[in-house]
Amino acid sequence: MALLEVKDIKVYYGMIQALKGVSFEVNEGEVVALIGANGAGKTTILHTITGLLHAKSGSVFYNGKEITHTPAHRIVSMGIGHVPEGRRVFSNMTVLQNLKMGAFTRKDKEEVAQTLENVYKRFPRLEERKNQRAGTLSGGEQQMLAMGRALMSRPKLIVMDEPSMGLSPIFVNEIFDIIKVVSESGTTVLLVEQNAKKALSIANRAYVLETGNVTMSGMAADLLHDEKVQKAYLGE
């Protein structure tokens, strides 16, 4: 059974249909990438999974349970972490306060302290700047904070929305290295990226989206060498 199963979801913004029946699944331990152009519906999919949006029809199953209509704040405690597009850290709060917000649903204080240690180990820069206001961090550091915040809930599945957007090439590499480490430590990753080449190089499988539909899917390595994908998304 897949850890996450998305079945034929149709999502609307008012009158406009953003997803026209999207289905895919993510198995435990995988890194799955969703690639596609602007407006293809990638962010909408992630929002529908974590409950910021709800599908008009179709369903989302996580760990065998239907979460199609579960509100976002409950989904967090079920084990899905979301690193939103544009980072969206709480810029007037300190780095440490941001990380603690990530553990908002957890009651086990000592284990939260342990998770915080782990996050600091993974992102030493966050520890150095823990008392700094998040708004004063650089873009790359904010991205790390957004990831750290999501990891604080100790998710089984982490969904990441354009984590490399707007970052310098050095930070882009660093962020992808971190995603690899997160995955190797046992967290399942669903990744949305415009940087298709990078995404496909670290993913196991991938889905290609076009205007609200999945048009291709397969092993990431195969898609990386597929002529159509190369033309449309890899600029080769």
């Binding site: 704040h73 967090v76 939103p84 969206r88 709480f90 810029s91 709060m93 917000m101 908002f104």
Partner: protein
């Protein structure tokens, strides 16, 4: 000596404004809406305390508690029924107009129940006056209690926001509702909690106000409500210390203007000062600069 006495009265009146302004500023900070019915919640608090102490003969402390409970529940009910369905509405004006509607509703509901005759509110505060400088300076018990209440409320609220998990959740919601939800914070619950706190404080403000100015009518809350709104904007809306500073300054300016310039012009002077402050510093005295992110 009259200067000192004006100053103390101003701080006392300002303390009431500050407590009311906290309700405006917290709700604005979190729900991004102006709750223009807030002033009328004060009035309901006054009537609740009046009914308990005068009609039912309950002790002052219990009457105040009852007023707080009534207003807290009222705040949550107003938020749930009137505002929550509109928070996602296309225009923020919809909520604003609804708030004005709620304001009229509360005034007229009280008018229907208690009639239009002003009630004479007997002070619930039984602390003796403080006479200083051989009786040249007389500070009433109400004044003392009002100022102390305001300081206690400020300290407790600041600690709550900065030190507790729920307080931090409020800050998070005020910054980014979506990101707060993704952290597992129940945004609707947090907004309701904010209304509950703001309305509970309004009840205390109502009791303090009516104890110092002992006439209670369905329109008692309207003017202090607007003044406190001005205080919140003056101090920087969304900022808790700003509400405190704005409230106290507004109270002092009002009483000084009444004492030294003109009773009739005092409100004009208060609003004049607001206009000047907003011209110089549009976000208010302690307001955050609005950053435009690219």
């Amino acid at each position: 000596m009259s200067f000192l006495s004006y100053l103390i009265n101003g701080i006392s009146l300002g303390s009431v404004y500050a407590i009311i302004a906290l309700g405006y500023t917290m709700v604005y900070g979190i729900a991004r809406m102006l709750n223009f019915a807030h002033g009328d919640v004060i009035m309901v608090g006054g009537y609740a305390a009046f009914t308990c102490s005068m009609t039912l003969g309950i002790s002052p402390v219990l009457s105040i508690l009852a007023a707080v409970v009534v207003c807290t529940l009222l705040g949550v009910v107003i938020e749930t029924i009137a505002y929550r369905p509109l928070l996602e509405a296309a225009s923020p004006l919809a909520v604003l107009i609804t708030a004005i509607g709620v304001s009229y509703f509360l005034q007229n509901a009280v008018l229907l129940i208690f009639g239009s005759n002003p009630k004479s509110f007997q002070s619930l505060i039984s602390i003796p006056d403080l006479k200083l400088a051989d009786g040249a300076l007389n500070i009433s018990g109400e004044t003392i209690v009002t100022i102390i209440s305001c300081i206690v409320i400020m300290v407790v609220l600041t600690l709550f926001v900065n030190k507790t998990k729920m307080g931090q959740a409020m800050l998070a919601v005020s910054e980014d509702k979506g990101a707060a939800q993704l952290s597992g914070i129940n945004v609707n619950g947090t907004i309701a909690l904010t209304f509950a706190i703001g309305s509970g404080l309004a009840a205390i403000a109502g009791v303090l106000l009516c104890s110092s100015y002992p006439s209670l009518s369905p329109y008692t809350g309207a003017m202090p409500g607007i003044k406190a709104f001005v205080a919140a904007v003056f101090g920087g809306i969304g900022s808790i210390p700003g509400a405190f500073l704005g409230g106290i300054l507004l109270g002092v300016i009002e009483i000084m203007a009444k004492g030294y310039i003109s009773t009739q012009l005092s409100d004009a002077i208060v609003f004049g000062v607001l206009i000047i402050v907003l011209l110089v510093k549009p976000s208010g005295l302690l307001g955050k600069k609005i950053q435009e992110k690219v």
